[in-house]
Symmetry: C2
Subunit: 364 residues, 2 copies
């Protein structure tokens, strides 16, 4: 069976590495001539709008998926005429626009941060009394890893912020005074079988995920599962999905969902019986999902811009290295390391060691 | 870093899949045009004696290894002039001839089955009074998976047996009345760091491994580690090595070693903190070795000739499938499945399910 993937970055690479043992072959479409998944499948180099390449992808693949949420929906519709594409276009359509997404989430009865449309500086200024400070101005579309976001601390920030996002249609969101940032990852198959991972507790810096820790019996697990179940059902979702959440006291505030495998679930490769990548593949092939049970304490540390020396990382017992085979560049996600251990003490020590190593190599 | 591998079968494939997350690239030399590792690296198609291809392999690789023990030693010597090859040629030289191997093992003080050179039918007949029945006549060289072996039950079998192995130089071995067949796998790095896996308890049928089960606190573990440590030291070994052993009461009888990753260690992919494949790569790159701690109960079931339906295998919770992407052929190893679980009861149930499934698909 051949899986087609739009995008050939590290998520596509890790999908392919999870799929090879299942006997799957992979074909990627990605405009970047040197793409890190190219080493584990066939790489069609060209634009995502190239009809000839899209047709070739649909011809050669039995099922198609994607590794990023900014895929134009008309491309999905085009591919779908020939070959099934999962997750469904509806998930993209809603997820690609922050206002549509927040409206969708509220429509499902899920709590979100207060937000308001900001199509002009005047509109932004007018909505601030209700939203309050601090707040975050975000472009409605195409934001990721903190890109296209500006923090607003007072009215004096508004004009510069509006300038900074280059007059793009935007949304202003009230800042959520969260106790913790968590995410829940789940998979849903074509037949509707669902599997949930334990929630991940996440630390971001400068808008980029740094550390994601698996949890055990997290008090918010059941509520998080209800949230993501509601979303998956509404979207008639197929594949792995991630929902980022803020914990405020005993309440969960839905931030955003990603219709794909997610950085905060990378610890599932070693930390779970079945990884988020394998379960995404099983889901889109309509195969039974694998167990999401944890194998002890697990965490993932991202390496941004630089990676510590391999020898140093491998000398840490129960640390697993994942290099993405990407050229180093400031602010770029180049690798991650996973901790997996049954000892809470060793776990805590390893987190300290890895965050320390990451700090020294980080140039984001 | 680029790893060169002689052979592009399933062992090379699993080495490459273990190495990609470490950022490694792979190049294989294998005469088979359709080789199952070709999907995860560059495949040089040609004979192992092709000097131009060997030179290309040595040019492109930073270190070279192999997936089968019948590599002619002069090829290793040729490659070694340019690029380091591990495990060392000495391991091949000794392991390729059953008499040299048994003599080597006895020279290290390790117990072996009684054996005698059988270079002719007359010599075979002459040695039987001392060896006794039952016994096994084996070609000295190029045997694997029970090929080149004939059981001798009485003097009446000798002439036919000699005919069956086609007059090849042979060894006759006394049958060991073993309680269990086990193997120990270990890795040793260029710097001499050593890691041992828990011994695996193995079931063979018709000379082919069927089921390998990890053990916990096996009473023979310490003795098995001493045996393999002695062998690795004598060979100045680098890489992963497997030693097959017979357990007779409280004694270990050394059967044979394989200077490579081994079928009886496939359960280490999910069942160990670090797999035999990753530790082989770490060893030949002179990187720190990874933990060989077990993650619960683990076992591996081979699928020979046919593979049960993927959906059936994936519906078993805590079973992991490894398809080798090889065309089905009678008696051919096509795939394996690993069980990994913390529940002894579930483990026992899964072993029954898998052996039952394997039995129905097996055509060896």
């Amino acid at each position: 069976m051949v899986i087609g993937i739009l995008g050939a970055g590290q998520l596509a690479r890790m999908l392919a590495l999870a799929g090879k043992p299942l006997g799957l072959k992979f074909i990627f479409l990605d405009p970047t001539p040197i793409a890190c998944a190219a080493d584990v499948g066939k790489h069609l180099i060209g634009d995502y709008t190239d009809k000839a390449l899209l047709t070739q992808l649909a011809d050669e693949a039995d099922v198609i998926t994607y590794e990023f949420e900014n895929v134009p929906v008309d491309i999905i519709d085009f591919l779908n005429q020939q070959t099934p594409v999962y997750p469904p276009a509806k998930a993209l359509l809603i997820g690609q626009d922050r206002i549509t997404e927040k409206t969708f989430l509220q429509g499902l009865g899920l709590a979100t941060a207060p937000f308001s449309d900001a199509s002009s500086l005047a509109e932004l200024q007018a909505s601030m009394p209700e939203i309050g400070y601090p707040a975050i101005l975000k472009t409605r579309r195409l934001g990721y890893d903190g890109k296209g976001q500006v923090v607003l601390r007072s009215a004096a920030d508004l004009a510069d912020a509006w300038e900074a996002i280059k007059n793009a249609p935007a949304v202003v969101e009230g800042f959520v005074p969260f106790d913790r940032e968590i995410s829940i990852i789940a998979s849903r198959s074509v037949s509707g079988e669902v599997a949930y991972y334990p929630v991940s507790e996440n630390n971001h810096e400068k808008g980029i995920l740094r550390l994601a820790q698996s949890t055990q019996d997290d008090p918010m697990q059941a509520q998080a599962e209800r949230y993501i179940h509601t979303i998956m059902t509404a979207l008639d979702y197929v594949g792995t999905i991630a929902l980022e959440l803020f914990v405020v006291g005993e309440t969960l505030i839905a931030n955003e969902f990603a219709p794909r495998v997610h950085n905060s679930g990378h610890w599932t490769i070693e930390g779970s019986e079945t990884s988020q990548f394998e379960n995404h593949l099983r889901a889109v092939m309509d195969m039974p999902l694998g167990s999401t049970d944890s194998l002890g304490y697990a965490a993932m540390q991202n390496f941004i811009g630089n990676v510590p020396a391999t020898e140093k990382l491998l000398s840490l017992s129960q640390v697993h290295l994942h290099l993405y085979d990407k050229a180093a560049r400031k602010g770029r996600k180049l690798a991650h390391a996973t901790i997996r251990t049954d000892s809470l003490e060793h776990y805590t020590d390893l987190i300290s060691s890895l965050t320390e190593l990451a700090k020294h190599s980080d140039d984001s």
